[in-house]
Amino acid sequence: MTGPVTGPVTGPVTGPVTERGLRARVTQEVAEVIATRRVGAYQHITLVAPGVAELARPGQFVALAVGGESSGTLLRRSFSIHKVSPSGTYGGTVEIVVSAVGAGTRWIVDRAPHDTIDVVGPLGKAFPLPTDPVACVLVGGGYGSAPLFWLAGELRERGCHVEMVLGAASEDRLFGVVEARRSCDGVTVTTDDGSAGQQGWVSDVLPDIIDRTKAGVVYGCGPMGMLESITRVADDHGAVAQVAVEESMACGIGVCMTCVMPVVGSDGRTRMVRSCVEGPVFRGDRVRWDAFDGGHARVPDDAVGAPKVGGH
């Protein structure tokens, strides 16, 4: 690209002030990487992003541009916010945990301290917090545990008993076992291959933990299949599931309609809703798991505006 002033604007963008005097709840800022370190199979990255740090709540995510200002990779990559420190030594910081799976995430994990990354956030809806100090179980699959420690802290501040279940394919794909032991009242680890904790899936250990703690809420973040089984187990054991989903997102800000999934609304009707703005956290029992196949969602026949037989 040879344009004169390419690339996104620098510095925090604070949206227009509306009649009600509300400030925008989202910012775009060019964030400096101040720390990056390997943690098992993942890269733990700390970014100076005071605008995001000030506004974010647990369960929200950030969208990072990849490849620099003139990059041919246009679409941003989304990451759960692992932690924020609104008034750190460097100004507010935001931490993310990245699994390098493709070209975009590889570019991100290759950033060195003092490199910059363009960040938009915080995006999406946060985990809802219970008004009463009920027991909660937090279930993270792989890097899906990233947003749960911050959530655990907030729940314990409200007097909730908090237990965590961390599951992954193997030990190197677990994230935050030590931190979990520090920030929770109980921790259970499962791996598919038995390289750490109990061999098996999180759904194998979850029923007993819900029953023992009389948990009212199960929070989950991880692969879709895991979120479906967490929802089923929570339902069967009298708890509400709140799950953070992961759908392919072109914009992350609610304008493109690529990130939709079938979710039942308060009126009992199913709609294809945007997981970037109406999610990523949904009540598990509202998600139409029956419409998912291999991670892809069909439009259920009873969804609002579903194609009729013979075309629209």
């Binding site: 002033v5 775009q28 505006g305």
Partner: protein, 316 residues
């Protein structure tokens, strides 16, 4: 200071030529968190049909070099909800609105236009964009925009529904043998302007699964990768206007604009206004940034009026 204002017909002088692109900006609220949508020349809304539509299943997107494919399936709330909620909101923040309408039959387009006209917020409408890149159920799903007769019929019916001072823009598809033939048919049927271009039909195969990557199999290609196609289409149609083969009407350029330079390129090819679509996904405030950059470029080149730069590359 460059005079950026432009008149696209109907006596609505727009303060500047920058717009959002249909389907890349939703209906305003989301982007209003990043910039004031009333700073745009006009806000172009997501194409709306008569009834609510769920759109297609997922995956709905695939990334491509300098762009993406999308297969949304025109998900939307339907025209009733649009005129009850979205249009009044845009009016309340002072936006000038260019609603995009769609249909699967020419009568559906006419019905959507008539409902729009009856809206209490119709004052905010500075024009209507007709997305004719929709399958025509009456013709085995052939896209209207690929057939001059079908395109003309839709435009004529929509034109009848709207007051004279509301210009109608036909949004053309580049997936045709001769875009000037479709442009001519639309203008003769009453289009007051043309928007060029919609996405190009494309496809990606996921080589892990050895299956099409998109739920809808094929999708629309957009982003900087298609910009030369848009510039070519605008150039050809503008050339046909100079040659008298098509009556001269304003062209709104869209397709891959990322910077002020890209916008200026389209203007030089013949566009009187510019829409920024896919690049918003990369930079949410891109439309206002492109406007600022375009203004700086025009100033550096010594233009006093934006409109003086329109079609200059034709050297006439």
């Amino acid at each position: 200071m460059v005079d950026l204002s432009v008149d696209l017909g109907g006596g609505h002088r727009l303060p500047n030529p920058l717009m959002t692109a249909s389907g890349c900006a939703a209906n305003g609220k989301e982007l209003h968190r990043f910039f004031d949508v009333s700073d745009l020349g006009a806000f172009v809304t997501k194409s709306v049909m008569a009834d609510p539509r769920s759109g297609r299943g997922t995956p709905r997107m695939a990334e491509t070099p300098s762009g993406m494919l999308n297969s949304i399936g025109l998900q939307g709330p339907g025209i009733e909800a649009f005129v009850d909620e979205d249009l009044p909101w845009l009016q309340s923040v002072g936006a000038r609105v260019l609603p995009s309408i769609a249909g699967s039959s020419s009568t559906e387009y006419a019905h959507v236009a008539a409902t729009l006209r009856a809206s209490r917020a119709f004052d905010a409408v500075v024009g209507v964009e007709v997305n004719i890149s929709c399958p025509n159920v009456a013709n085995r799903g052939l896209v209207f925009a690929c057939d001059p007769m079908a395109s003309a019929k839709v435009i004529a019916l929509v034109r009848e529904q709207l007051p004279r001072d509301v210009p109608v823009f036909a949004k053309l598809s580049p997936d045709v043998t001769d875009i000037t033939a479709i442009a001519a048919a639309c203008v003769k049927a009453g289009a007051d302007g043309l928007t060029m271009i919609n996405t190009l039909l494309g496809m990606v195969i996921d080589t892990d699964r050895m299956r099409p990557q998109l739920g809808g199999v094929t999708g629309g290609l957009s982003g900087p990768g298609i910009r030369p196609v848009a510039v070519r289409a605008i150039w050809q149609v503008r050339q046909a206007m100079f040659e008298g083969r098509i009556p001269t009407v304003p062209i709104i350029g869209v397709g891959g604009v990322r910077t002020g330079r890209d916008a200026l390129e389209m203007v030089a090819a013949g566009a009187s206004a510019i829409q920024v679509g896919t690049v918003v996904f990369n930079d949410p405030s891109a439309p206002v940034r492109v406007l600022r950059e375009l203004c700086e470029l025009l100033e550096a080149k010594g233009y006093d009026h934006f409109t003086d730069a329109v079609a200059v590359a034709h050297g006439r």
